[in-house]
Amino acid sequence: MKSAKQETVPIATSSDVVMARQKVRQWAIEMKFTLVDQTKLVTAASELARNALEHGKGGHMVIEQVENSVKNGLKLVFEDRGPGISDVDAALRDGFTTGGGMGLGLGGSKRLVNDFQIESEPGKGTRVTVVRWK
């Protein structure tokens, strides 16, 4: 039973990334998102959780149900304590990678959600906030 409209999931190991995906799926099902929207949101969460782990030395994800005057949405906030991103625009470009990945994590997940906001301060960490509206 989930009475609170907010939940925090730690991201410290690769099993936590799996847990983050499952939590987002649960919330998206509960909010009756369509299967395609669920899949997009869970995939974006997987990318961003992995980023927080691989590049940000871990952190956490906050899931929150949000609403504006006309619709409901699911908001996910990923916060890490990593080195931060010095050039956010470059990091958002497809193919840009500092790790061994495809460079699709940030740019790709941006395409899978409706709102996407990234705040990063070199040396302090990165916060990525996404919302998918119903």
Binding site: S14, V18, V36, T39, K40, T43, E47, R50, L104, L112
Partner: protein
């Protein structure tokens, strides 16, 4: 250690991914499959992902890597059973899995493998 089972069927290897894989498990599967192809002189690999609820860039890359490594080892790879919602998401994410052969289900996937490799495998053809 947790592992995804690889079944041998004649000159082909079959894998059904039925768990929500964490990244290390995906890398393990990649390594295991490559070794098994070499050990069994397999001509083809069929990977069933029909129960996977998402394919993100990491798993997409794993599938592409498996196909590329298999090709270098002279084996074909066919990925079957991707759910429509997963396909939509994967393309929007920016991955088209262009180097990976796909089929709708296990049956058509096996047909494709026989088509690609059946001439080497007359005892199992039909």
């Amino acid at each position: 250690m947790e592992r995804i089972p690889i079944l041998r069927m004649g000159q082909f290897l079959l894998v059904t991914i039925q768990v929500d894989m964490h990244d290390r498990l995906a890398v393990q599967l990649q390594d295991d499959l490559t070794e098994k192809i070499s050990e069994c002189s397999s001509r083809g690999v069929l990977i069933d992902i029909s129960t996977l609820e998402i394919v993100d860039s990491f798993i997409g890359r794993m599938l592409a890597n498996i196909a590329a490594m298999a090709r270098v080892l002279d084996a074909e790879t066919v990925v079957v059973g991707m759910q429509p919602a997963v396909a939509i998401t994967l393309v929007e994410l920016g991955m088209s899995l262009s180097g990976v052969r796909t089929a709708l289900n296990v049956e058509t996937g096996m047909e494709l493998l026989y088509e690609l490799r059946g001439d080497f495998n007359s005892e199992m053809g039909g």
